[in-house]
């Protein structure tokens, strides 16, 4: 699965509404249990370009002030059970507390899981099929009522209803050992669900899985575990008033316009070792035009772009040219890969040599430029981005600006020495993907592969076109731009949905359609492997296998050019979301 980020929204020109689908990922390393205290105080931290990657910039413990955030478009929902945007997962932790969360610390340390609502990370039993969490004492909602383990259970069960909460991920749907007659908390409220989740007392919650998974803490860190009392559940309308369990509660909710969060006086610092809750309030303005947003961050009117996907092209130049701005910028590599999939169901891509020809002929530098240049991505050589467990440098097709000789050789081996014609699809409202398609069209033409380009709107792209294998096959579309980011940092989080042939869907499909038994076998092995290191290695092998099969032309590992706000304290990039951490921030 993959989490979404807000695309770098256009200045409102293209029909393209901005909410993008693909991926901003995040990665985490070993779920070790250190509950490291964040942000040191006192000493002025380092500054300069990329200072926020591994350091807490402008550290301070000063409380008070208003943190001003903005975003170009509203995201899917502020309901923890109905959201799939990285920025939303990052942000919602200021008003909601999941069982476990990511350590608010810079860089790779930010990928570490730390207990939040729970006293400690999950305790596994039954061969990692059962996971037990104990809630901290003294937890309260904003209305003063106590938070119990039943609320956690209810919250998790509630969001299983994907006809009501369409947005969120389906990990719990897929992995919990749910009774057969359970449909949803609304339709079958009386079905006993203890086989999936038990609450032996108000402090304890026990999850039962249908197959073992050693990384369950990654699930426990999902927003779905943010508690919701059944009595306060108003279904889809819950988004209008989310009951706060974190240090801030909603004051104003105007979807599409503005959210204001103020201090939640029922939150007790004593129950929360990871949050400092420095600002007095958060002001989040929605629907700010992209370039305007950048300019206001540059001038100091705004502190943070919630989307965290990077500045608009215009500001990229400013950052390059203005040393002062440059010193405020960070350029993290994210756990997301942009790539072009080659459809093995469509001739001549059913022949591996023809696929290889594309990989050899592609001009990677040009592709990198298409995706926004050096500041927007590193040239990718495999699916798995660095930072994901099991990642290893794989360069099966070492080309730089394209290797015509090898491409021609592959074409000959494929029986198409003079090249062939093929169709490529892309999201028409994504300028970068459009540029990638155009770039590939140019570089493939050099070896005689003639591409016809076909753009579709994002809203239709996966439901009706690129994500509908039957359509792709009927219309002989061999190539498609795509992107993928993990929900957390292991191979499971990144690869299973796109390379496992058993997850191919009839529509809304992101799977590459590899259909290689060897790959599926590696996936099965990885699922069953309880040892993390070995499991990661298996995912690495699967990645290599896919590259061997030349099913995908990786383009870039995405990077974002982010600007630190003026007068913002404790600002740093968290490895969990590859954007600024929203828990630690303060205002001077």
């Amino acid at each position: 699965m993959k989490k979404r980020t807000l695309a770098v929204a256009a200045s409102g020109a293209a029909l393209a509404l901005a909410l993008s689908a693909c991926g901003g990922g995040d990665t985490t390393s070993e779920p070790s249990g250190s509950a490291a205290a964040p942000a040191s105080s006192g000493a002025a931290g380092p500054a300069g370009f990329n200072a926020g990657l591994d350091n807490v910039t402008n550290p301070s413990d000063k409380k008070g002030g208003v943190l001003k955030m903005a975003v170009t478009e509203d995201w899917d929902s502020v309901d923890p059970g109905d959201t799939y945007y990285g920025m939303s997962w990052n942000l919602l932790r200021i008003y909601g507390r999941p069982l476990v969360t990511y350590n608010p610390a810079p860089g790779a340390k930010g990928r570490e899981l730390v207990p939040d609502l729970a006293e400690s990370l999950g305790v596994a039993s039954d061969g990692s099929k059962t996971w037990t969490y104990k809630l901290r004492a003294g937890l309260k909602y904003e209305d003063g009522t106590a938070i119990t383990s039943k609320d956690v259970k209810y919250a998790v069960l509630r969001q299983l209803d994907k006809t009501t909460y369409v947005n969120g991920p389906t990990y719990f749907n897929d992995w919990l050992d749910l009774p057969k007659d359970f449909v949803s908390v609304y339709k079958t409220p009386d079905v006993n669900t203890d086989s999936a989740i038990e609450t032996p007392d108000d402090q304890t919650v026990v999850f039962h899985l249908n197959k073992p998974y050693a990384g369950f803490d990654n699930f426990a860190a999902l927003p779905a575990t943010v508690p919701i009392p059944q009595a306060k559940d108003t279904g889809i309308k819950y988004r209008d008033h989310v009951l706060a369990s974190g240090p801030y509660k909603f004051d104003k909710v105007e979807p599409g316009k503005q959210y204001t969060l103020i201090r939640n006086d029922q939150w007790d610092q004593a129950t929360d070792p990871i949050r400092k809750a420095l600002p007095d309030s958060y002001e989040i303005t929605l629907g700010v035009q992209g370039d305007d947003l950048d300019n206001r961050i540059i001038s100091g009117d705004l502190h943070i772009d919630v989307a965290g996907s990077g500045v608009q092209p215009a500001a990229i130049a400013s950052v390059q040219q203005d040393p002062e701005l440059n010193a405020r910028a960070d350029n993290p590599v994210t756990a997301r890969t942009w790539y072009i999939s080659l459809n093995p169901d469509v001739a001549p891509f059913d022949n591996i040599e023809c696929r290889k020809a594309v990989l050899f002929a592609a001009d990677r530098v040009s592709l990198q430029t298409a995706y926004g240049g050096q500041l927007a991505g590193e040239i990718a050589t495999s699916l798995l981005p660095a930072g994901i467990g099991g990642w290893a440098k794989i360069d099966t097709y070492p080309t730089d600006t394209g290797d015509e000789a090898k491409a021609k050789a592959a074409l000959t081996a494929c029986g198409q020495p003079n090249g062939f014609e093929a169709t490529m699809t892309f999201r028409a409202d994504r300028p970068k993907e459009q540029a990638a398609a155009e770039s590939l069209q140019q570089s493939l033409a050099k070896v005689g592969i003639k591409l016809t380009l076909k753009g579709f709107p994002t809203s239709e792209y996966f439901p009706a076109y690129a994500g509908k294998p039957s359509y792709m096959k009927e219309n002989k579309i061999g190539l498609a731009t795509n992107g993928w980011g993990a929900d957390w940092n292991d191979g499971f989080g990144f690869l299973s949905q796109i390379i496992d042939s058993r997850t191919i869907r009839e529509a809304g499909n992101y799977n590459l359609g590899v259909k290689d038994p060897a790959v599926d076998a590696l996936v099965d092995q990885a699922f069953a492997e309880l040892d993390t290191a070995k499991r990661d290695a298996l995912w690495g092998q699967a990645d290599a296998k896919v590259m061997e099969g030349a099913y995908v032309l990786p383009a870039v590992y995405a990077k974002g050019l982010l600007l630190r706000g003026k007068g913002v304290t404790n600002q740093f990039i968290t490895g969990a979301f590859d954007m600024y951490d929203y828990l630690a921030l303060g205002v001077e």
């Binding site: 699965m1 029909l15 209803d161 559940d233 629907g287 305007d292 994002t458 809304g508």
Partner: protein
């Protein structure tokens, strides 16, 4: 008069019904002819992680598997008597006029439309005042100074004005005044009138001028033509022969007649504009009805598209009616029948 209005209102209603049917067909029937199935529709409105079962259920929940006539009937019923919406934890009654719930955001469409309306209203109000004043005064002056340097210059500018797409002038204006000189508000900086009238005007001045420029140019040309025609009329000569002051001849006899058709066109233009200034709103990222519509189209959010179309068509039909009534008031020769 009253019977006329009633007849026209009935006519307007019929018109809206036809518009709704055509719109509904385009979005619900035509794609089916192209082989799009009900679940294909539903696929657009499920999460990224939806299973096939979820898709089928969503199809049912949105009623997409019903015959189109049933769907249309449900939609019409919603407008007149309201509708029920299952929001998970219960059923909500969406009071009439209920234009349904967004397939994507699950929010009722009508309040969203009402929410967007002030933006478009603000844009239309400001721009139309500017273009009417500017266009008419330039047109009148041009006509009165026909052949002069002013006339030639103004008409050249006006012709350029109607030849410039707002998405070009808007971009140039934004780039120059908002991002270059930083003297006007950047795109998307809408402030409601009720919040702060000064900032409201500041945030809208560039969109106003962009939109007004285009229309002012057209109106200047129209006014000039109308004025020239009118000032050549016999009754103007009569007015002069009475010894009437030239200023009064122009104001009382010339303008009144020359402006009547302008007012008509103005009414219709404002009617169309109230349905959203798509290009201007998109260029300036203004959260009005036009931007709402383009957003709805890009997400294929059918209830939103239907709601928007009906509102826009309503404004156009109403503007037509108002203009016809107004014409009868202004021009005594027109009889309403």
């Amino acid at each position: 008069m009253v019977t006329y209005i009633i007849r026209r209102l009935v006519g307007a209603l019929v018109m809206l019904a036809v518009v709704s049917m055509v719109t509904f067909s385009i979005f619900f029937v035509v794609p089916r002819l192209a082989g799009v199935t009900a679940t294909d529709f539903a696929n657009r409105y499920v999460g990224r992680a939806a299973t096939q079962e979820t898709v089928v259920e969503v199809t049912k929940k949105l009623g997409l598997d019903d015959p189109v006539v049933v769907q249309y009937g449900r939609w019409v019923k919603g407008i007149f008597v309201g509708a029920e919406f299952d929001y998970g934890a219960g059923v909500e009654h969406c009071p009439a006029p209920c234009f349904g719930y967004s397939f994507v955001t699950k929010k009722p469409v009508w309040p969203e439309l009402l929410d967007r309306l002030p933006v478009t209203l603000s844009l239309a109000a400001g721009a139309s005042v500017i273009w009417l004043l500017a266009g008419v005064s330039v047109g009148v002056l041009s006509a009165l100074k026909r052949g002069s340097v002013f006339d030639r210059g103004a008409m050249m500018i006006a012709l350029s004005g109607v030849s410039l797409p707002p998405f070009f002038t808007g971009l140039i204006a934004l780039s120059l005044f908002s991002y270059g000189l930083r003297i006007t508000a950047p795109g998307g900086a809408y402030v409601p009138l009720t919040e702060n009238p000064v900032e409201w005007a500041y945030s809208l001045i560039l969109p106003w001028l962009t939109l007004a420029f285009l229309n002012a140019a057209a109106y200047a040309r129209l006014t000039r033509a109308g004025m020239l025609e009118t000032m050549g009329e016999d009754y103007i000569r009569t007015a002069r022969a009475k010894g009437l002051r030239e200023s009064k001849v122009i104001a009382k006899h010339g303008l009144r007649a020359a402006l009547t058709p302008i007012v008509t066109i103005f009414g219709l233009d404002v009617g169309i504009l109230l349905g959203g200034a798509i290009l201007t709103e998109n260029v300036f990222s203004l959260p009005g009805l036009g931007k709402y519509a383009t957003g709805a189209i890009s997400t294929q959010d059918l209830p939103k598209i239907m709601g928007f179309t009906m509102l826009a068509a309503f404004f156009i039909v109403m503007a037509n009616l108002v203009v016809d009534l107004l014409y009868a008031v202004v021009d005594p020769r027109v009889r309403l029948s």
